[in-house]
Amino acid sequence: MRKVIADHVVEDIHYPVEGNYIIRLKSHVNIPPVKPGNFAQLLINNSPDVFLRRPFSILNVDYKKRIISFYVKIIGKGTGQLGKYKKGDKVNAIYPLGNSFSIPGLGNKALLVGGGSGIAPFILLAKELRKNNIRTTFLLGGKSKKNILLTEEFEKYGEVLFTTEDGSLGEKGLITDHSIFQSAHFDFDKIYTCGPEPMMKTIGKIARQRSINCEVSLENKMACGFGACLCCVTETVEGNKRVCMEGPVFNVNFLKWQI
């Protein structure tokens, strides 16, 4: 997999809900094949206060139109500054970075559990699962109905379940408390989860208890994003591994998580 570094221009940026935006970048060169779970390192402006690149999962790719998109939640300076970009502004990007989700055997059943900006890699993953005839269920969680995004997109690929903390959509409560986990028909072959670490740990624990293969996508802080600095490591059963190279996707059982 060859990585590219190239200037892109902002095609458009829109805010489905305050504090969250989808930014689409147009590339002047062909976009290399992107796999579900891959991420990109975006150079926001290399200013004194946003000095390093910022990593974001690749939300979607239109190879024909050469457009790559990201779903960003504003949490600080870099995500805030990028959110003010306008059509035509330049963003330098390096991708595809990292490994990707593994796809189970034909005809299996998969559950995708995501909260917040953790849903970003699920669109490419859902496309790939469908290609492999895998029945897909999404479980999406958030504070309130308005925080749950891209629902129509996910509905194209499978059944979508919700939890919200205020009960405005789906079941009320935390995503990890959804009744599906208590259901007698809980017969998934694979669970994928992305989002806040406590959520991923709880999902990982449920998967482990039921001996279901489970993959998580980590969001460790990164300096380079392409394997050179060793800043992003996570502890695994085989020692420290780089989240940007050997990850961001890991099997839960490979991580040294105390769950």
């Binding site: 570094i5 690149r53 050179a228």
Partner: protein, 303 residues
């Protein structure tokens, strides 16, 4: 055409631009982005005698115009390097230089001895300035006595070019430079990272797992430039200038201050092609100012 050649001890470098240890992996990580054969040299990630897991996460905090790191010399050990990495990188047409580390003089000797016979490793960089390990590391580089002891011990076992990497976390870096010159170093490189710290006011917790860590990037450049200048004036052996170099102008400033060559560090994270851009930029500068050889720029600061 501008002559970009420089000489460090008995080694010819095709140009003065090399990449700094710990910021360039083993070179292979950059293969998709640049032609590694164009570089003057590559300083590979720090090696130790045995496998080291390094420090716990979080290992990095961004700061104004820079970053702090506490990687702590994670590497699989010198034997793994020789068996698995050296065969892959030895065919690059550039100088591959190993950066060696230890918590005791014996460990440094062990690593240096094993590297002696590698045909395509023409030099080692003795790192006596790593701030991110509990034992050894920077401790060797912060007193003249210990700097002499370790340089002298390595000089006795290592036959090829010996570069000693100096710590900026000292009162008088020129004194340490003179001490390692006297103990047989063929060149010095400076600076390693400056000891720093970052705090999250909301959580009242440090941002790095080991509380303190090494600062790099443009934030350290004025300090690094000053130290290169002081060291250049104190010793006769050549100097590798390091610290916050982001572009060709920065590199030229270091050369004017006395560096024979430069190492590019943190800048590689932001732009993995920056080293090549710096080579081209130096050449353009020379053509523009009608300078025939880059050697004419070394220490050419006018005061």
């Amino acid at each position: 055409m501008a002559d970009m050649n420089v000489k460090i001890h008995n080694l010819e470098f095709k140009n003065p631009v090399t990449t700094a240890s710990g910021t360039f992996g083993f070179g292979v990580e950059f293969e998709d982005f640049i032609d590694l054969n164009l570089l003057g040299g590559i300083f590979v990630k720090g090696l130790t005698l045995k496998n080291r897991e390094g420090n716990p996460y979080p290992r990095m905090a961004e700061t104004a115009s820079g970053m702090l790191n506490v990687v702590g010399l994670q590497n699989k050990g010198v034997d793994y390097f020789i068996e698995n990495i050296y065969p892959v990188i030895k065919n690059y047409d550039t100088h591959i230089i190993a950066n060696i580390n230890g918590s005791t003089i014996e460990e440094y000797i062990g690593v240096a001895e094993k590297l002696n016979d590698l045909e395509k490793i023409p030099a080692i960089e003795l790192n006596i300035s790593c701030p991110n390990v509990k034992q050894g590391g920077m401790l060797f580089g912060t007193s003249c006595r210990s700097a002499i002891a370790v340089t002298d011990a390595i000089r006795k076992v290592y036959k090829k070019t010996l570069i000693v990497k100096l710590s900026p976390n000292v009162t008088d870096i020129a004194e340490i430079a003179k001490a390692v010159e006297g103990a047989g170093a063929d060149a010095v490189s400076l600076i390693n990272t400056l000891l720093g710290m970052a705090v999250n006011a909301e959580t009242r917790r440090p941002l790095l797992s080991t509380v303190t860590g090494g600062l790099s990037g443009p934030a350290v450049k004025p300090v690094a430039l000053r130290m290169v200048w002081q060291v250049y004036n104190a010793i006769k052996i050549p100097v590798f200038g390091i610290g916050g170099i982001m572009n060709a102008t920065d590199a030229i400033e270091f050369i004017l201050a006395g560096a024979t060559a430069v190492q590019i560090g943190t800048a590689n994270f932001i732009d993995p092609q920056v080293s090549i851009k710096i080579i081209n930029g130096i050449e353009e500068y020379m053509n523009h100012h009608n300078i025939k050889s880059v050697k004419d720029l070394i220490g050419a600061l006018e005061i």
